[in-house]
């Protein structure tokens, strides 16, 4: 009886395996070159169980739905497919290959973290599929684009600032608030052991010292799997710096929570990606008050232009689970897809690649604070509308090829980031609030110390 059952099971497994082999082949026979009426395929790649991944995953879907509702791209609809990269580089490579080979996508939108993007970059050079990378700012990605431009790197676009452009904001912040306003001159560089952490640390180490006259007393690099930060903070406190400069993009809640629970008596600044999430207050168990972070815009705490606000409204109407508000990469994905599609309309599609890339490099988009796509002085309380977001990609001759110039000065100059800070207490019983403390032109709240910082550490020198 048992033997018969095993035989049946064997037959069943054989049939399933045979079907698994035959069906994709059958599909492959009919794939070929897409007929004109067939939809374009947009592949999304990202960690689908994380806020970062889901932010751009969702806004990608919103953008595609809007484009399809408006008639599609060159009269053809866009079909959305996705692949989960998780946060593992190897999974990212497999996901990228899956989109390229199984779905034969026409373009890809990525919400991958730095290390995952760096993992599939060689595949991008191989497949040469137009790819929009919305989260990572890794300068290494941009170096590949620049150095291997003709080999396929030109297919890659990063619709926000790269690490070095972000670094410009760190120096500006250190100059304006930490050195000039507070009079501080010593710090400890405290960073995660990732491509991003080490890359930005290098920039801060080399630039903040000479740029803002701040001496680095020591460096503490920690593993992102660290669960006990007691010894880490003990080392930092032993240096007795004026402030801590923290660089954290992955697993930021544990070091942040430890900072609060241990009541570290030294102010902390820097990059804290989790702190830029609307969920940070709850993820911290209600202990997020006073945390600040430097971030590329758009970020929470900022006032919105009408285009971004419309996106937020659609997002909130469609999804109620986390992330309740998209991360910055969600906005970048949404805008970036429009850049890709508009370039494809001008180029007659995504092929030939060169033609599409040339059109993409012409992207020059301004979002006005009050008017959105158009300048509307009549809607501004001051009678003058403000350039709120500026999207333009560096060309092949620039060192930062295809990363985005996000001009916030209104002068199309170097980009600027923002420093936001969580209010100490919830102003609204349901929603904690965030304000912008730097740069001055976007400031809508004053910097405050967390309560346990001793008076002597608050004194301006």
């Amino acid at each position: 009886m048992k033997k018969k059952g095993l035989q049946k099971l064997g037959v069943l497994i054989s049939v399933v395996l045979a079907l698994a082999i035959v069906l994709p082949l059958a599909g492959g026979c009919t794939a070929g070159a897409p007929a004109p009426e067939e939809p374009w395929k947009c592949g999304y790649i990202g960690a689908l169980a994380t806020d970062v991944g889901r932010s751009s995953q969702r806004t990608t879907q919103i953008a595609i739905d809007e484009i399809n509702a408006a008639g599609g791209l060159l009269g053809r609809q866009i079909e959305y497919v996705e692949a989960d990269s998780t946060e593992e580089p190897l999974e990212g490579v497999k996901a990228y290959e899956y989109l390229a080979e199984h779905h034969k996508v026409d373009f890809i939108v990525s919400g991958c973290i730095d290390d995952v993007s760096l993992g599939w970059m060689p595949r991008l050079l191989e497949y040469k599929i137009p790819t929009l990378d919305t989260w990572t700012s890794a300068i290494r990605c941009i170096e590949i684009v620049h150095d291997d431009y003709e080999a396929g790197g030109k297919a890659y676009f990063m619709p926000h600032m790269n690490d070095y452009d972000q670094g410009a904001e760190y120096v500006a912040f250190a100059n304006d608030l930490l050195a000039a306003e507070m009079g501080w001159d010593t710090m400890v560089l405290y960073y995660e052991d990732t491509a991003y952490g080490c890359g930005v640390a290098e920039w801060v180490r080399d630039e903040i010292g000479p740029g803002a006259g701040i001496e680095t007393l020591g460096e503490v690099c920690y593993d992102i799997g660290t669960f006990d930060f007691t010894p880490v903070y003990s080392k930092i406190v032993a240096y007795d710096p004026d402030f801590i400069f923290h660089i954290c993009s992955v697993n930021c809640v544990p070091p942040s929570a430890a900072y609060v629970e241990m009541e570290i008596p030294i102010p902390i600044f820097g990059v804290n990606v989790a702190a830029c999430s609307a969920e940070f207050w709850d993820d911290m168990g209600g202990m997020a008050g006073g945390f600040n972070a430097t971030m590329p815009p758009p970020t929470i705490g900022l006032e919105w232009d009408p285009v971004s606000q419309a996106l937020i409204d659609k997002y909130k109407a469609r999804w109620t689970d986390r992330p309740i508000f998209p991360h910055f990469n969600g906005f970048n994905a949404y805008q970036g897809i429009y850049h890709m599609v508009e370039a494809a309309e001008r180029a007659g599609g995504f092929e030939p690649l060169d033609k599409w890339v040339k059109e993409m490099e012409k992207t020059d988009q301004i979002l006005w604070r009050y008017g959105g796509h158009e300048r509307r002085d009549d809607l501004s309380p001051t009678g003058q509308d403000i350039k709120w977001q500026y999207y333009m990609y560096y060309g092949p001759d620039h060192d930062y090829t295809h990363s985005c110039v996000l001009d916030q000065t209104g002068e199309h100059g170097r980009p600027g980031g923002m420093v936001m800070q969580w209010k100490l207490e919830k102003q609204d019983p349901l929603e904690a609030t965030v304000g912008i403390i730097h740069p001055e032109r976007w400031r809508n709240t004053e910097f405050v110390f967390v309560p346990w910082i001793p008076e002597e550490k608050r004194i301006q020198k």
């Binding site: 960690a47 169980a49 994380t50 806020d51 946060e87 052991d193 920690y222 593993d223 660290t226 669960f227 006990d228 007691t230 010894p231 880490v232 003990s234 406190v237 697993n251 930021c252 809640v253 544990p254 942040s256 929570a257 629970e261 241990m262 009541e263 989790a274 969920e279 709850d282 993820d283 911290m284 168990g285 209600g286 202990m287 986390r322």
Partner: protein, 280 residues
């Protein structure tokens, strides 16, 4: 040095609590329940859900966490393990899979983001010039209270003696009239309850993430192998060896090597004394 002693003592107490339930099940049933660390993880989430998301008092949060982890342990035993007690390999593999399933369920419910459990006792205390988290001190006091209660139960109650009898000589215990099924069930329930307490404190000491169970599993495994599979005394001793070695490594060398000493000691013990320091 003071910091190594203080932090090591505190960490060891927490480790002992986590490993205790793991070793009890092996001692009585001779099977390894790898899902035990999964119960620890789920208990941490249950406590967070109850206290932070639902706004319930801390005591209610503890009660819910313990109830959930105990329910999971009892359910695992009654629904699956009981029929495979004679095949430890099936239990070993299937409980590992069960832990993975728990991870995926928690990912669905809470996503793969890190969540901080607010400390049960806030603030820091200076002990011998070293900063010590009041929450960790509370965790260790609670851990030792639980360990003491388990030791009392095992040594002074009829059911506890039945557990020891079953652990020493299964056939003899059955001949003496002990119901092995009931003893096993009780052991799994106690183990689940310990996982509940451990989950709350481990979660508040570290943070919550669906993969939280992996580290406690590795660490528990190392501790029970070093101490001797099934030996409660061995578990207590090994927890302190691992805890102090870990703390010394992190403070004196590098935090990236945190888990290395425990694993190295485990290999040495396996080579020199395969039954563990207190194994029979």
């Amino acid at each position: 040095m003071e910091q190594i002693l203080i932090q090591g003592a505190l960490l060891s107490g927490l480790y002992a609590l986590i490993a205790m339930g793991f070793t009890m099940i092996f001692g009585v049933g001779r099977v390894l329940n790898l899902a035990h660390a999964g119960y620890v993880m789920v208990a941490g989430y249950s406590y967070f859900w109850a206290t932070y998301m639902m706004g319930l008092p801390i005591v209610a949060g503890f009660a819910i966490a313990i109830a959930v982890s105990t329910g999971l342990a009892v359910g695992t035993y009654l629904g699956w393990v009981r029929r495979f007690l004679n095949d430890p390999t099936i239990v070993f593999v299937s409980t590992f899979i069960f832990a993975l399933i728990l991870e995926h369920v928690m990912t669905l419910a809470f996503f793969r983001e890190n969540i901080n459990v607010p400390p049960i006792v806030v603030g820091m205390t200076q002990v011998m010039g070293c900063p010590v988290s009041n929450n960790l001190v509370a965790a260790v006091i609670a851990s030792w209270a639980c360990i003491g209660a388990v030791l009392f139960f095992v040594r002074k109650t009829h059911m506890g003696r039945a557990m020891r009898a079953l652990a020493m000589d299964r056939r003899g215990a059955i001949i003496s009239g002990i119901n092995p099924d009931m003893v096993n069930l009780t052991t799994w329930a106690i183990s689940g309850a310990l996982a509940g307490v451990a989950g709350v404190f481990w979660g508040s000491y570290t943070f919550l993430v669906p993969s939280l169970w992996v580290l406690p599993l590795i660490m528990s495994f190392a501790i029970v192998v070093i101490g001797g599979l099934g030996s409660i005394e061995g578990t207590l001793a090994a927890a302190h060896i691992v805890g102090f070695m870990e703390t010394a490594t992190v403070l004196a060398i590098n935090d990236k090597l945190r888990s290395v000493p425990g694993l190295v000691i485990m290999i040495i013990v396996l080579l020199a004394r395969p039954k563990g320091l207190f194994g029979r």
